[in-house]
C-alpha cells in the first residue's frame, strides 16, 4: 500500500528532489569560491524569476504534451506534433498578418483558425487511423511529415515575424512575476484537466485505454471517440504553436522541431503509462516541469554542454523507474 502511494506521488517527489538538488550545486560552487551563500535563499535557480523562466520555456511543450496525453491514455500514440505545431503556427501567422496584424482587429480570428487547423490535422490523423486500421504510430508519423511539408510549401522556408505588441504581451506583460502566457497555459491546463475528469469524452479515453473491446461492447462508439481524441490533441498542439510563436515572435517551418521526444518523454516521466489507461493531465504537468527543470538547471549550474544530454537521459530513466508500479505490469516492451 505504501509502495502504491509512493509510486503515485513519485513524479512529484522527483520534481521536488530536482528543485532542491540544483541549488546544492550552486551552494557548492559559491562555497568553493569562498562566497557567502545560504542554501535556497541565495539560490538563483530557486527563485521566482527563474520559476517564471522555466514556466515560459515549458508552456509550448506543456500544451503539446497535454495533447498527446489524451492519445496515450487511449493507448494510442500521436507523433504528428512537430508537423501539427509547425503548420498551425504558420497558418496562424499568415492569417494574423492578413487580417490586420494586431490582436485588436479581426486578426484575433487567426487564433481559432490555428486551433481549427490543429483539429483538422488531428481529425485526418484519427480518421485514417480508424478507417484504414493503420496503427496510430505510423499514421501520425507520416502525418507529421505532411504537416511539416505543408508548412514548408506555404512559407517557402521564410520565417514570419509577429510584431504585434498586444499579442506579444503574452510574453512581455507580467502579472505577479509571471508572463501572461503562463496564465493562458494554466487556463488551458485546467480545461484539459476538466475534459479529462469531468466530461464523458475524457472518461471514455480512459475506458478505451483500459480495454478497447470492452468499451466497444459496452456500446461506446470507439472509432468516433478516437477520432475526437486525435482532433482534441490537435487543438492542443495548435495551442502549443500559439505559445511557441508568442514566446519568440516567429512562426516558421521549424517551430515544431524537437517537440516529439520531449513531449512524449515528459508524459512518461510524469507517470502516464504508454500502454494506456493510467495517468493524466496532472502527471503531464509534473512530467514537463521535470524535463524543463532539468534542462534549465543544467545550464544554471554550468554543466558542460556535452554532458547535458547524458545527464538528461539518466535522470529520465531514473524518474520513470521510480514512478512505475511494478505490480501492475507483467511485462514491458
Amino acid at each position: 500500500m505504501i509502495r502504491d502511494i509512493i509510486v503515485k506521488w513519485a513524479p512529484l517527489l522527483v520534481l521536488v528532489f530536482l528543485v532542491l538538488l540544483f541549488p546544492i550545486f550552486e551552494w557548492l560552487e559559491d562555497f568553493r569560491a569562498g562566497k557567502d551563500h545560504i542554501y535556497l535563499l541565495d539560490s538563483r535557480f530557486f527563485s521566482v524569476r527563474n520559476a517564471s523562466r522555466i514556466a515560459v520555456a515549458a508552456t509550448p511543450g506543456l500544451m503539446v504534451a497535454i495533447g498527446v496525453t489524451f492519445i496515450i491514455i487511449m493507448g494510442s500514440i500521436d507523433l504528428s506534433m512537430e508537423g501539427s505545431v509547425s503548420i498551425s503556427a504558420v497558418i496562424f501567422a499568415f492569417a494574423f498578418l492578413a487580417l490586420g496584424g494586431t490582436l485588436l482587429s479581426w486578426a484575433w480570428l487567426a487564433i481559432p483558425a490555428a486551433m481549427l487547423v490543429g483539429a483538422g490535422i488531428g481529425f485526418v490523423n484519427g480518421l485514417v487511423h480508424v478507417v484504414f486500421r493503420i496503427p496510430s504510430f505510423m499514421v501520425s508519423l507520416a502525418m507529421g511529415f505532411v504537416g511539416t511539408g505543408l508548412a514548408l510549401v506555404l512559407t517557402g522556408g521564410d520565417r514570419i515575424r509577429i510584431e504585434d505588441e498586444v499579442f506579444r504581451s503574452l510574453l512581455t506583460v507580467r502579472w505577479l512575476n509571471f508572463p501572461i502566457m503562463c496564465y493562458v497555459a494554466l487556463l488551458a491546463l485546467l480545461v484539459a484537466w476538466f475534459i479529462q475528469s469531468h466530461t464523458t469524452l475524457g472518461r471514455n479515453f480512459y475506458a478505451i485505454g483500459g480495454g478497447e473491446e470492452l468499451a466497444q461492447a459496452s456500446g461506446l462508439n470507439v472509432a468516433r471517440i478516437r477520432v475526437l481524441g486525435f482532433a482534441l490533441a490537435g487543438v492542443f498542439f495548435a495551442l502549443g504553436a500559439l505559445m511557441a510563436v508568442g514566446r519568440i515572435g516567429i512562426a516558421e517551418t521549424a517551430t515544431g522541431n524537437n517537440f516529439m521526444f520531449i513531449s512524449i518523454a515528459a508524459v512518461v516521466v510524469g507517470g502516464t503509462a504508454l500502454w494506456g489507461g493510467i495517468g493524466g493531465i496532472p502527471n503531464t504537468l509534473v512530467g514537463i516541469l521535470i524535463v524543463y527543470v532539468i534542462t534549465n538547471g543544467m545550464v544554471v549550474i554550468g554543466l558542460p554542454s556535452w554532458l547535458q544530454d547524458g545527464v538528461l537521459g539518466v535522470l529520465v530513466i531514473t524518474a520513470v523507474v521510480l514512478s512505475t508500479s511494478r505490480k501492475s505490469i507483467s511485462f514491458v516492451k
Binding site: H198, T199, T200, Y206, A207, G210, G219, N221
Partner: protein, 501 residues
C-alpha cells in the same frame, strides 16, 4: 415476448445457425447448452446485436426488429453479461456501470460524479452488493466483478420501458459455490422485471436455474426441454449425441502410483498473501488434485512449483533436489510442464504454427550447430498429431486458428514430447466441449500410467473426484483435508464442499 424465427447465419464455409427458433417469455429463465462450436456464441451474438442474421426474423412483442450493433439491442432492453473481465479495470465501478450512458449525469457537458455515485449505489443495491461505487474496478474480487457486470446490464431497467432480456454467458465460471448460490438467488429475484438467457457449460447449474433449456448441436436447436422433466444424462446425450456414463473419467484406467518415487515435495511451504504451511508429496504416476475456491491458493501453489512465484517459507524439493532459484526456465529444465488456464494467452503462441508451438519448450534440442532442424520438428509434430488425434490441416497451420480442444492437445504435446514428467494442469478442460474433454481425460490417464506426476487444478469437483488419486482441499491458503482414493471408493461431492467453505 422475445422471439427468433428461423434465424440463419452463414460464415465463409460454415453454416453457423440453421433455422433457429428461439423464444423467451416474460419473467422466464431460459437455459442454453451445447458443445463448443454448436453455435451458442453465434446465437448469443445475434441476440445482443453483435451479428446480424442472414435470414429469419427477430421479434419483440410481435414487432420485427433489426439491430445494427449492441447499442441498438440495448435500447430494446437486451443486455449481455459477459463471461468475465469485461469490466474496464482502470475505471471506477460507477463508471463501468454507466459506461456509454453517462448522458443522464451530464449537464452542460459536465459529468456530475455525485449524481452518478448515488445512482450507482441504487443499482448495486439490486444485487445486494455493498461497495463504494468510486472503487477502482481492478480492486474488486472476481465475484464482485461478476455482480457489477450484472448491475451494469440491470441499469437497462430504468432506461427501457419495455421488458428486459438479459444474457448470462458462463456467469459462474469464476465463482465459488456459495457465490453461485447467491447469484442464482439474485437472478430469480429479478425475474419480476427481466427474462434471462443462461448459458453455461455446467449443465447441472443450468438445470438448477432454468425453466426451459434449449439444446444446440451443429448450429441447430435439437431439443427444448423443461427442467422439471429433464435430467443431466439426457441433456448431455442430446448435446453430444452419445452416452456419457461412468466411463467418462476413465476411472477403470486408474492405476496405483509408485509411492517410492517422489517428484515434488513441499515441506511447510508458504507464500505471503497466498498460502502457508503447505506440505505434500507428488509421486510418479500420481494425479494430485488441489481443490478450493478462487483465492484458496491452489493457482499460487501451481505457480510456485513451476517457478513463477517464489515461495518465501519452507522447503521445496523437486526430484529430491532442493529448489533455491525459482524461475520458469529452471522449472522447465527440471522437467516440469505447465498447462495454463489461459490457454489462448499462456498456452499456445497465437501466430506460431503447430510444430513451432510443440517444440517451444525444447528449442535447443532441435538445433544443430545453432540452426533449427525444421524437418525433425515437423516429424515430431506429425507423430503427436497422429498420437493425440489433433485435427489440423497441416503442421504449418497457425495455432491460433485451431479449436480449443486441439489447442489444448498441442499444449499437452508440447510438454509430453519434451519429456516432462511433472505436469501442472490448471483447469485443463476449461471451455472444451465434451468430446475434447474426454480426450484430455484419456491423456491424463495415459500419462499417469507412464509415470508422470500430475498436479491438477480441476474445472469441476466431479472432474477432480473422477481423475485424482489424491485430493487436497484448500481454504484460505491452508490445507483443510487430504483424501486418498482408489478406484471404486471415490468420495461424494459433499465431502469436498464441506471442507472448502
Amino acid at each position: 415476448m422475445y422471439q427468433l424465427k428461423a434465424v440463419d447465419k452463414h460464415f465463409p464455409g460454415v453454416h453457423a445457425l440453421q433455422a433457429v427458433d428461439f423464444e423467451v417469455q416474460r419473467g422466464e429463465i431460459v437455459g442454453l447448452v451445447g458443445e463448443n462450436g454448436a453455435g451458442k456464441s453465434t446465437l448469443m451474438k445475434v441476440i445482443y446485436g453483435a451479428y446480424q442474421p442472414d435470414g429469419g426474423e427477430i421479434k419483440i412483442d410481435g414487432k420485427r426488429v433489426r439491430f445494427q450493433n449492441p447499442r441498438q439491442a440495448m435500447d430494446h432492453g437486451i443486455g449481455m453479461v459477459f463471461q468475465e473481465q469485461s469490466l474496464i479495470p482502470n475505471l471506477t465501478v460507477m463508471e463501468n456501470i454507466f459506461l456509454g450512458f453517462e448522458k443522464q449525469f451530464v449537464t452542460f457537458g459536465v459529468v456530475s460524479w455525485r449524481a452518478m455515485a448515488t445512482a450507482a449505489r441504487a443499482q448495486l443495491a439490486k444485487v445486494k452488493l455493498d461497495i463504494d461505487p468510486t472503487t477502482i474496478t481492478s480492486d474488486l474480487s472476481f465475484a464482485q466483478r461478476q455482480l457489477v457486470e450484472l448491475v451494469k446490464v440491470l441499469t437497462l431497467e430504468e432506461r427501457i420501458d419495455g421488458d428486459l432480456v438479459i444474457l448470462l454467458d458462463e456467469p459462474t465460471s469464476v465463482l465459488a459455490e456459495e457465490e453461485v448460490k447467491l447469484l442464482f438467488q439474485i437472478v430469480r429475484g429479478l425475474t419480476k422485471r427481466a427474462s434471462f438467457i443462461f448459458v453455461s457449460h455446467r449443465i447441472s447449474e443450468v438445470l438448477e436455474l432454468s425453466d426451459r433449456i434449449y439444446i444446440m448441436k451443429d448450429g441447430a436447436v435439437v431439443d427444448v426441454v423443461h427442467s422439471n422433466d429433464a435430467d443431466l444424462d439426457d441433456i448431455q446425450h442430446k448435446m453430444v449425441g452419445r452416452e456419457i456414463n461412468s466411463e467418462y473419467y476413465r476411472e477403470h484406467k486408474q492405476q496405483a502410483y509408485n509411492s517410492n518415487d517422489v517428484l515434488v515435495s513441499f515441506d511447510n511451504v508458504g507464500l505471503q498473501g497466498s498460502y502457508r504451511n503447505i506440505s505434500f508429496d507428488l509421486h510418479a504416476g500420481e494425479v494430485l488434485c488441489l481443490v478450493g475456491t478462487e483465492g484458496s491458493g491452489r493457482e499460487a501453489i501451481l505457480r510456485t512449483v513451476f517457478g513463477r512465484d517464489p515461495c518465501n517459507a519452507g522447503r521445496v524439493k523437486i526430484k529430491g533436489e532442493p529448489v533455491t532459484a525459482f524461475s520458469p526456465m529452471a522449472g522447465v529444465r527440471r522437467g516440469i510442464g505447465h498447462v495454463p488456464r489461459e490457454r489462448k494467452i499462456e498456452g499456445i503462441v497465437n501466430g506460431m504454427n503447430v510444430y513451432e508451438n510443440m517444440t517451444l519448450a525444447q528449442i535447443r534440442k532441435f538445433a544443430r550447430l545453432g540452426i533449427m532442424n525444421v524437418p525433425a520438428e515437423k516429424q515430431l509434430a506429425n507423430e503427436w498429431i497422429e498420437r493425440l488425434g489433433i485435427k489440423t490441416p497441416s503442421v504449418a497451420k497457425d495455432c491460433g486458428g485451431l479449436s480449443g480442444g486441439n489447442q489444448q492437445k498441442v499444449v499437452l504435446a508440447k510438454w509430453r514430447s519434451s519429456g516432462s514428467d511433472i505436469l501442472l494442469l490448471d483447469h485443463p478442460t476449461r471451455g472444451l466441449d465434451i468430446g475434447a474433454k474426454e480426450d484430455v481425460y484419456e491423456m491424463i490417464r495415459e500419462m499417469s500410467a507412464n509415470g508422470v506426476g500430475i498436479l491438477l487444478a480441476a474445472d469441476t469437483l466431479e472432474e477432480a473426484i473422477g481423475l485424482s488419486h489424491t485430493i487436497i482441499v484448500l481454504k484460505d491458503g491452508e490445507i483443510q483435508k487430504r483424501f486418498e482414493y482408489a478406484t471404486g471408493s471415490k468420495p461424494s461431492l459433499y465431502d469436498l464442499v464441506h471442507h472448502m467453505i
